[in-house]
């Protein structure tokens, strides 16, 4: 059942992304002002959305563990955070490349960039502290609390940085409304990335479960 879910989500993600990438590079025309480089958008926005959804899933996993005391929820939480961090880093890197091309700078302390970067830092903290606990129950409990604390911070970070930056308007470039074909391509890529995120999370979830099985067998062997 688990393997099937991985294959289905992964396969669907692959098909959608392949078809859509062909469409993006071969069919869609260049954008009027930016030329070819606007295509980064299709690999910039979808990972950001996927990352946010996965961070939400991580918090749900945290609450799930605290309510049911089942390690499956903890595995879900850490799997979602790992994939979420990767997606957010992809978002930051693609954005940085686009910024270098369009603004002439690699980095601007703009509201969105700063809050995204802080999100990555918070969740990297989550991943770094996990191995520091040797006791599995303690690790899962602390991780669950952390995932709730971290997710509560996201909206506050977002608003605070937006207010902070309104006093110093940064070089924010908003394209006013996407053309229909481009919007559809963006939508398909978002679906593709969400499925990819789901597939990767399921794979990580599986490896977490296997790891826990090995751990319990080792303990059993020691007991004997």
């Amino acid at each position: 059942m688990k393997e099937k879910a991985i294959y289905i989500t992964g396969g669907l993600a692959g098909i959608i992304l392949l078809l859509n990438i062909y469409n993006i590079f071969m069919v869609l025309p260049d954008e009027a002002n930016q030329g070819a480089v606007y295509r980064i958008l299709f690999f910039h926005v979808p990972p950001a959305i996927t990352g946010m959804v996965l961070f939400f899933v991580a918090m749900v996993g945290g609450i799930g563990f605290l309510s049911f005391k089942d390690f499956w929820w903890d595995a879900l939480s850490v799997a979602a955070v790992e994939v979420g961090v990767v997606m957010s880093v992809v978002n930051l890197v693609t954005g940085s490349i686009w910024g270098r091309n369009q603004w002439g700078i690699w980095w601007a302390w703009d509201a969105r960039i700063t809050s995204q970067f802080l999100c990555v830092l918070i969740y990297v903290g989550y991943l770094v502290i996990r191995p520091a606990f040797s006791d599995a129950t303690q690790r899962a409990t602390i991780s669950a609390v952390l995932s709730i604390f971290a997710f509560a911070d996201i909206p506050i970070v977002w608003f605070s940085i937006r207010w902070w930056r309104t006093q110093h308007p940064g070089p924010v470039l908003e394209t006013g409304g996407l053309q229909h074909d481009m919007a559809m391509a963006l939508l398909y890529n978002t679906i593709g990335f969400l499925l990819l995120g789901a597939a990767l999370t399921l794979i990580r979830l599986r490896s977490e479960e296997v790891q826990r099985e090995i751990e319990s067998m080792r303990r059993l062997a020691h007991a004997l």
């Binding site: 802080l118 502290i129 520091a132 602390i142 609390v145 709730i148 604390f149 509560a152 911070d153 608003f159």
Partner: protein, 224 residues
């Protein structure tokens, strides 16, 4: 309830004033930072005034972390933490007691380093003192709540001194932005109106949200 909380506050303060281990470290650390800043910025220049809010909070937060790091770690020798958890006092009261004690200590360190800062950088602190004090109190409470919670989270962790700042600072960022912006503006003669009022609300909101979260989750952190 107030009685039990107060017992914890008095116990923490008494043990700190007898050993003075974290207060001494924090105050001397704050002084060292003030000297280092002197080499990084020209202390007489006009820009230093606009930077002063940021400088002040870098000192407060770094020195504060030194104090808060000890909040729960202090209880580790002789298994005092187990005794505290087993004592007939609810987790949230234990947390509030520790947080209030930490708040008093950190605010004390801040009040000692503030006049030194004023003298070294020739900044008038007398006229805006009460406004600045309000910001300091609110910002310090936010720092203390986050710091005490994460101190409880990391108490059993290897490399605790490294883990704690890594977790605290990204989560604390909205409160820090608010405190830095307001302090800078107040030292420049500003009052609580316009933007400062928004920041004041944000800082208060942040403190309320995280105090509520911490009080709700601390039993899980301490007991599991």
């Amino acid at each position: 309830m107030a009685n039990k909380v107060w017992t914890i506050v008095a116990k923490d303060l008494r043990s700190e004033f007898r050993s003075k281990e974290s207060i001494n470290a924090a105050v001397s650390f704050a002084l060292v930072m003030l000297v280092i800043f002197n080499f990084a910025f020209d202390p007489t220049a006009e820009e230093t005034h606009t930077l002063s809010g940021g400088l002040l909070w870098i000192i407060f937060v770094f020195a504060g972390t030194l104090v808060l790091n000890r909040s729960f770690a202090r209880e580790l020798p002789n298994d005092c933490l187990d005794a505290l958890i087993a004592a007939p006092i609810p987790g949230f009261q234990l947390f509030l007691g520790k947080a209030i004690a930490g708040f008093i200590l950190v605010l004390g360190v801040e009040l000692i380093s503030l006049p030194v800062f004023g003298i070294f950088y020739d900044i008038d602190l007398i006229a805006p003192f009460w406004r600045l004090f309000l910001v300091m109190a609110l910002g310090t409470w936010a720092l203390t709540v986050i710091g005490t919670t994460f101190s409880a989270l990391t108490v059993n962790v290897r490399l605790r001194e490294i883990m704690l700042p890594m977790l605290i600072y990204p989560v604390l960022m909205p409160a820090l932005i608010a405190a830095i912006t307001m302090s800078g503006s107040i030292l420049d003669g500003g009052t609580f109106s316009g933007n400062n009022l928004i920041w004041l609300k944000l800082l208060s909101g942040f403190s309320v949200i995280y105090t509520a979260l911490a009080v709700g989750l601390i039993d899980i952190v301490l007991v599991g």
